[in-house]
């Protein structure tokens, strides 16, 4: 007797004692299932024949009678299966490109493999099972055999290949993965491209619906921002530029970090950022938009300067070790904690400063609290240019010392609750235990606090001072303030001075 085609399988035993308490009911189509399921792989073309999943068009092979098609109740989203088909052929992001860009040779290097590693989920019907008035006959039923002490899924005795049509019912019901099968409608049917399959044996219908729900609905689709946290290597994958993936990461991450700076009580900027650009808020605040632009130009930037190895990248957006392309795998909570810590050091350094500029700002303000030297109307620190300049200096100095300070060794368990201020609080506590990092931040802050942070409109400036400070106004002010502060720090005979000299050298200032 000719041996029927079969697929070696694994049996995955899954059962718990508590499940014995579940109220099974054959009457409600919830009969007690087997204590596990099978896993196997089979060519997509064979699976299509055994499941009867075909696109429903008039020019098909002999159409399956509606009652023989167990999948008829599911709607086919053609665009989805087309997308999967293109992905299988060309990978991502090429499959997502508009047609015009695909024709353009410029993007041909974006083609990648289109792996489908996630398994279809099917149910193997048993002889006698009834679906929509039709009963599965024995010759149309698949069976589970045993070969060399391993289970195997055996095709029906009537099975004749890819063009096979059962007389009664298809033996496999697809619970999840129909669109993957539909995607193969237009692909080369001679291909032996296999798909992994999870197969339940004789699962009652209500459990199939339940399985569909738990597989598709309950898992939260992760946001791009979380994806970049869970897989930090993504931050440097340049192919993501083609689909604006990296820009989305940077924008989203910058916004999230600003929200943390505003929301977390330990932050010097707690409730001191103009989050929605409103006027008439009473005290001077830099807008959220300005903060986001500044973070995108500093900590979350990809690269600045003359390319890798010569310029400086964003601590949260570029590889800190050019040889291995390794990125700092800090989560958003860690990144927020770091920003809060450097600003705390900055605020404390200014508070402790006896420099003339700080004394002058305090003398000019009637209220000592909050510190006018840091938050006041005439303070450059609490301005668009000041925020940018300080972030730029801290980013660049930490970038060039990242390995010395072993920033990469600071790890924290990931949480999907990425909006939690508690998590940021915990990260701050942990960061403060890293003495070398905090001490370096402190030295940077103290060095920065020596510079004059008065705006050109501050009272009491001499004409020479006013002209000097005027250089930090407007768009040019962003770079001017950074260069000025780095050049001041260069003079320090300390690791900070050394780092500043390295940054100046890399940028050629």
């Amino acid at each position: 007797m000719k041996r029927l085609e079969s697929f070696p399988a694994l049996y995955v035993k899954q059962w718990r004692k508590e499940w014995d308490q579940v109220p099974w009911s054959a009457a409600r189509q919830q009969r007690k299932p087997e204590h596990g399921f099978f896993m196997f792989s089979a060519p997509a073309s064979t699976l299509k024949a055994l499941t009867g999943v075909y696109r429903r068009s008039a020019d098909q092979r002999k159409p399956t009678a509606r009652r023989n098609d167990p999948n008829v109740q599911r709607a086919h989203d053609e665009s989805r299966s087309t997308k999967i088909r293109d992905y299988v052929r060309f990978g991502y992001p090429w499959s997502d490109l508009p047609e015009r860009r695909r024709r353009d040779n410029e993007f041909s290097d974006l083609r990648k493999p289109g792996w489908l590693p996630t398994a279809l989920v099917i149910n193997i019907l048993r002889p006698g099972d009834v679906r929509d008035g039709a009963t599965l006959r024995k010759e149309d039923a698949a069976s589970i055999g045993n070969r060399n002490e391993r289970p195997e899924i055996i095709v029906p005795s009537s099975f004749s290949g890819k063009e096979w049509q059962p007389q009664s019912l298809h033996p496999f019901e697809v619970i999840d993965g129909q669109h993957r099968l539909w995607a193969f409608d237009d692909l080369d049917s001679t291909s032996d491209f296999e798909l992994p399959v999870v197969a339940f044996d004789g699962l009652d219908r209500s459990w199939q619906a339940y399985l569909f729900w738990t597989v598709n609905i309950t898992p939260k689709k992760i946001s791009p921002s979380l994806a970049f946290d869970l897989y930090p290597l993504l931050r440097t994958e340049e192919w993501l530029n083609a689909v604006q993936g990296l820009a989305i990461y940077r924008e989203t991450r910058a916004q999230e970090l600003v929200e943390n700076l505003w929301a977390v009580p330990e932050s010097p900027w707690h409730q001191r950022i103009n989050m929605l650009g409103e006027s008439g808020l009473g005290s001077k605040m830099v807008t959220q938009a300005a903060w986001i632009r500044s973070l995108m130009a500093t900590f979350v930037k990809p690269w600045e300067g003359h390319g890798r190895g010569k310029g400086i990248g964003g601590l949260f957006g570029a590889p800190i070790d050019e040889s291995s392309f390794s990125v700092l795998s800090w989560s958003r909570a860690q990144q927020a904690a770091f920003l809060i810590q450097i600003w705390s050091e900055m605020r404390d350094a200014v508070r402790d400063s006896k420099a003339d500029w700080a004394k002058a700002l305090r003398a000019a303000d009637l209220l000592p609290d909050p510190d006018p030297a840091f938050y006041g109307e005439a303070s450059l620190i609490n301005s668009d240019q000041g925020v940018r300049g300080i972030l730029a200096v801290f980013n660049d100095l930490f970038f060039v010392t990242a390995q010395t300070l072993e920033l990469g060794s600071w790890e924290m368990p990931r949480s999907e609750d990425v909006t939690s201020a508690d998590e940021v609080g915990r990260a701050i506590v942990q960061l403060r235990k890293r003495r070398a990092v905090c001490e370096f931040a402190r030295q940077v802050a103290r060095g920065l606090a020596e510079s004059d942070w008065r705006t050109s409109a501050a009272r009491g400036l001499s004409e020479e001072q006013r002209l000097r400070q005027a250089v930090f106004r407007g768009g040019p002010g962003y770079k001017e303030i950074k260069v000025d502060r780095l050049k001041a720090l260069e003079k320090h005979k300390s690791p900070v001075g050394e780092a500043a000299r390295e940054v100046v050298r890399r940028f050629g200032y």
Partner: protein
């Protein structure tokens, strides 16, 4: 002009996708050769007269016309923002006649950009839509005389008709952002019908000055000596404040958003409440923030604020029949700004698949003296600091005790660079 003159099906047939695809190809040509249209394009020069001739002979060069409509989308926007900026300068100088003219044309060009992105081209007496096959259809029924309705008369009915399409609404609301999510997505748990109605209502309100019957003000400004008309009591300080308020709404945020977007979001949510039986504003905001994936704690206080908290330009944009020129000037400037914002959103959507946008904007900025050397997108966005600085100087010069003062033209000219509005709408900072 009655909307009944329109061929509704042909208006509907205008294809957003066709325009986006053709525009993407044209951007490639522009990047390589510095040309918006190929030399062979029949309508590159003498557009209206050639088209008139071709219509008469029934030999319209359809592909050429579609190309023209496509490239006119960003180029109408360029002109619209430029006119608006000069209108702002005129307002600041108290030149209300010029203001009305320029602001009206800013609105007209914004509307033509909006229509263009929906595949509709307006050409003096002949107006067409470009469909999915890149052929063109007339959007107006011919009168017995065979003459069509002119540009000024047809833009409003076309805008009104097209604004009621889901695609067009999504094209605009999908690019106005609150945080990381578009207004369209913020409102995604409310019906599509609500969102389309909202977008249509806005475009109709902002395009008020384009209604043919309402060209009275423009005509008065065109033909009557302005010194003989009632100027109103607006001081220079008042005008500076209004200009500052308007420009503040143009502060660039992430992803081509402008500050005005979040105020529009607020207005949208307020307008959705009456359509949701039993829901309070807070509940609507909560649902919307969940859709958008945005932090309710950040947004709730802002989104809950009443309309009286909106900046002055937004409060007066829907008003008309002002008693004096100064107030009328504010209203038309506000409407023009909002219509340009909507047009910027739809143009940005049309340019989504195109390359070379940043380099075009950079060289455009050099031509228009916004900057003197090539800029990256982030640098173009950073120019906000310069404008903010100029507005600060203007405010300090006009404020007591040193004011009211009328500073020299260099400061006034600085705030008339409406081109920044274009750049910030389209540059991906």
């Amino acid at each position: 002009m009655a909307s009944s003159r329109l061929r509704s099906a042909n208006v509907r047939a205008g294809s957003i996708q066709t325009i986006a695809a053709v525009l993407a190809r044209r951007m490639v040509d522009f990047e390589r050769h510095g040309r918006w249209l190929p030399r062979s394009n029949r309508y590159r020069t003498d557009t209206v007269s050639r088209l008139e001739k071709d219509v008469g002979a029934a030999v319209v060069a359809e592909r050429d016309l579609v190309q023209y409509v496509a490239v006119s989308v960003p180029l109408h926007l360029v002109d619209g923002w430029s006119f608006w900026g000069r209108a702002l300068g005129a307002y600041l100088q108290g030149d209300f006649a010029s203001l009305v003219h320029l602001a009206y044309y800013a609105e007209l060009r914004a509307a033509m950009a909006l229509l263009g992105s929906a595949g509709i081209g307006v050409f003096s007496q002949h107006h067409f839509s470009a469909n999915t096959r890149q052929t063109v259809l007339e959007v107006e029924k011919r009168s017995k005389s065979g003459r069509g309705v002119g540009t000024h008369a047809i833009v409003w009915p076309l805008l009104r008709a097209r604004a009621r399409h889901r695609e067009s609404a999504e094209h605009v609301l999908g690019r106005l952002r609150g945080g990381q999510a578009s207004i369209w997505d913020w409102l995604s748990s409310f019906s599509v019908g609500n969102r389309v109605a909202l977008s249509a209502r806005w475009l109709e309100a902002w395009g008020l000055d384009l209604i043919e019957d309402d060209h009275h003000q423009r005509n008065v400004a065109s033909y009557r000596p302005s010194a003989l008309r009632e100027h109103g009591s607006s001081s220079f300080t008042d005008r500076v404040e209004f200009v500052s308020a308007l420009w503040s709404l143009a502060e660039p945020g992430a992803g081509r958003s402008l500050a005005v977007d979040r105020y529009l979001l607020r207005a949208a949510l307020r307008q959705v409440v009456p359509t949701q039986a039993g829901l309070t504003l807070a509940q609507v905001i909560q649902a919307a923030a969940a859709n958008a994936g945005e932090d309710l704690g950040v947004w709730l206080p802002f989104l809950s604020a009443p309309a009286t908290h909106d900046p002055l330009p937004l409060r007066i944009a829907s008003e008309s029949n002002a008693a004096d020129q100064a107030t009328a000037g504010q209203q038309i400037l506000a409407r023009a700004f909002l219509l340009l914002r909507a047009a910027g959103a739809s143009t940005s959507a049309s340019l989504q698949g195109a390359s070379g946008v940043s380099s075009w904007l950079s060289s455009f900025g050099i031509q228009r003296c916004l900057w003197s050397e090539t800029q990256t997108a982030a640098e173009m966005v950073d120019r906000w600091a310069d404008l903010s600085e100029t507005l600060g100087r203007l405010r300090s010069l006009s404020a007591p005790p040193s004011g009211p003062s009328h500073p020299d033209w260099t400061v006034v000219a600085g705030v008339a660079m409406g081109e920044f509005g274009l750049v910030w709408s389209l540059a991906n900072g």
